[in-house]
Symmetry: C2
Subunit: 477 residues, 2 copies
Amino acid sequence: MTRESEYDVIVIGAGSTGENVADRVRRAGLTTVVVERALVGGECSYWACMPSKALLRPPAALHQASAVDGAREAISDGLSPRPALARRDEIVSHWHDDSQVTWVHDAGIDLVRGQGRLVGERLVEVTSPAGEIIVLTARHAVALCTGSRPLVPPPLAPAQPWGTHEATSAQQVPDSLIVVGGGVAGCELAWAWHCLGAQVTMVVRGPRLLAGYEPFAGDHLRQALHHAGIDIRTATSARQATRDPATGYVSLTCDSDQGQQVLTAAELLAATGRAPTTDDLGLDSIGLDPAALDVDDTCQVTGVDEGWLYAVGDVNGRAMLTHMGKYQARACGEAIAARAAGTEATIHAWSRCTATADHHAVPQVVFTEPEVAAVGRTEDAARAAGLRVRAVEYPLSSIAGAVLYARDYSGHAKIVVDDERQVLLGCTLVGSGAGELIHAATVAVVGEVPLERLWHAVPAYPTMSEIWLRLLETYGL
Amino acid sequence: MTRESEYDVIVIGAGSTGENVADRVRRAGLTTVVVERALVGGECSYWACMPSKALLRPPAALHQASAVDGAREAISDGLSPRPALARRDEIVSHWHDDSQVTWVHDAGIDLVRGQGRLVGERLVEVTSPAGEIIVLTARHAVALCTGSRPLVPPPLAPAQPWGTHEATSAQQVPDSLIVVGGGVAGCELAWAWHCLGAQVTMVVRGPRLLAGYEPFAGDHLRQALHHAGIDIRTATSARQATRDPATGYVSLTCDSDQGQQVLTAAELLAATGRAPTTDDLGLDSIGLDPAALDVDDTCQVTGVDEGWLYAVGDVNGRAMLTHMGKYQARACGEAIAARAAGTEATIHAWSRCTATADHHAVPQVVFTEPEVAAVGRTEDAARAAGLRVRAVEYPLSSIAGAVLYARDYSGHAKIVVDDERQVLLGCTLVGSGAGELIHAATVAVVGEVPLERLWHAVPAYPTMSEIWLRLLETYGL
């Protein structure tokens, strides 16, 4: 059986990005449908941010209380894995998407379940789970919001390692876990499973954790994770993994300066990055190379006649983060609506139709303990871009708010300033509870608030936000 | 014996405000002396912010851990008062100012201990603790930084109630405590002593807690404190207090709509406001009324020939908060230095010499559980000032970051927007951990970041800072 339907906008992928595109165009009066082959709500809701943060919050809260005299004495035990995992299950609605489906319907958005593929200009074919073929036509736009998927290096595949899906949804705590990868997901999941009781070893190819961040961030985090009991092996490459069918244990062969070593654990997690989900989307049917999807700031795919195709969120590879996908989705939805209404003139940098912040202010929080939070350019990145910058640092641990927050608080902060324009370009913070401090930096970077004015933004005493005063003082204000 | 000395700048009062004035002028190359009759470091360090926040942090940390599944199960007891009080003692350096004195000396600032009084133009007389008289002459400026002192209503005086000094330094937990006053200090100290184990009753004259804040803030906090077991009596006036010499217990007679009632408790705290410490400063010797000290944005006292007198921090009554005192001090120090150098032209609104933010963006955090944090104008205050505003609210409890932070998270947020200029005028947040969220609002208000640009300041998912996205969406972006 074949059905056909025509909509103003077709959205492929009903994760948070797709939901936001659909919601924005719907609010602008356009008709829209989302196509989803798995759960409505997407990776973030079920197998990424939400479950991982649900697992990371209990150890953070317990750690923070344990660091305060008067509270510490009330704690007689370690983290309880069972209730922590149960809360995680609750946070992900036990991997059912009913409430998200209700939201979609209430928002006036149609939903078609199945794998969506482009089969021509403005034409999407959906294969439903029952094998039914539905052909959808878009009057104005098709938005690809299919996100990204974890990459598993082929040499690890024979061991059937956990990806982030399994590492965020596992129901049992393995007694030991090897984590391959020292990026955000690797650090967060290593920390989560360590806190839940696994003996964790991290195998990291590069010289430090959190490549791409200010170097001090990875170094600081490494020290904390090591101190907590995680075995961290940097400058070490995973070469080959196998799983013993009898014991179920994994053996991982690694190379480093010290030669070859074989690690054994109950479980192996490949946290080795993600790739945009562009395969099986029928991009070739319209002459596009799935490996080279290029978009402008409205997320319009370049090289498509009449510009009816958009790629939004992880799938375009600009900034693979839930909040940036949602941000792009809002901008893209506005752009689609503006073009449909013939008001393209409203589209310019920093307008509501463009994801301009992708180039300037992408915030990210690593929910370990301590947390790492960063936005904007690192010093190295700014210099590489040819900017005349000055960076200043200050120990977050010296701020009165931090001294009160925890005994032996450990943390650090750095800002990168455009010395010419006297505006903030970037900020990196490490410390317990630092995740909520970064938005002030995001506002300053995006707002291009001159430092001389920022000086008048007085932080309340004694909060940790007083780091702003100290950083600006150190800069010379 | 009489000594004499001449300095460029004389600072009376070595609290955080005085220290900052002295530090700023010293860095500008001027000679300076601070006069202190009590402890160097002032109220904030020993009898206000620091000890109160030291007492408030343990219950906050314990409360937060208790609200998280997986952490909760590890907690087998309530707060331990002894270590909490001991940590408080440590935070206030056991009421010794050695480290602050070292800082003063290292900063190149002279210190004279004793009560300083103006005795003429640019002339300060100090009576040392030993009764010695020291006469100091200022070449450029005298800065009064004497702070404020707690006001105890005369009808409460016979019971010898605690003021904030006693309530932040007590070594024993009274079994019961009546707190008169529902402002910031009243709420914080009621909460602290409740958590330490006292049975607390609050007597509040007005209809709600936290007068001057957005009404929802006081209502929300009241509900939380009531739910925790604090007996809160609003619209109730304290009439008369007495202390039974035999039992040591206090009786407080109160009036309300329900008639007269008598409350009894082991201790009584008068948290009924503070007054600038302008008496005993010799202001009359130069023809000034101590009750009507008026300053401009550089904190220069108006009506003084040649403008050599400054009043900075609590003593000028502009914004009686440690961080605003320090802010004024930095501005005032710069202004004194600019005038001494003959570069007055650098003094203008939002310059480094003016405390312009006093009029626009005074942040404050109430360190209860939940926390209350606010900056800028309330909706009522903005309307009263004749501004065309629109306010929007959003439940902080609905933010994914809050759902992850605690089970049954309770919180709320409101922003006030200048509808004409499309900039943020004020923000109020209530919720656990909300204190660190307010600085982003302070940056937005001070930076006058247009809402359309603020829209591009993407909060990291899933932090509580995502409240910004929801508030702006609700506003209509």
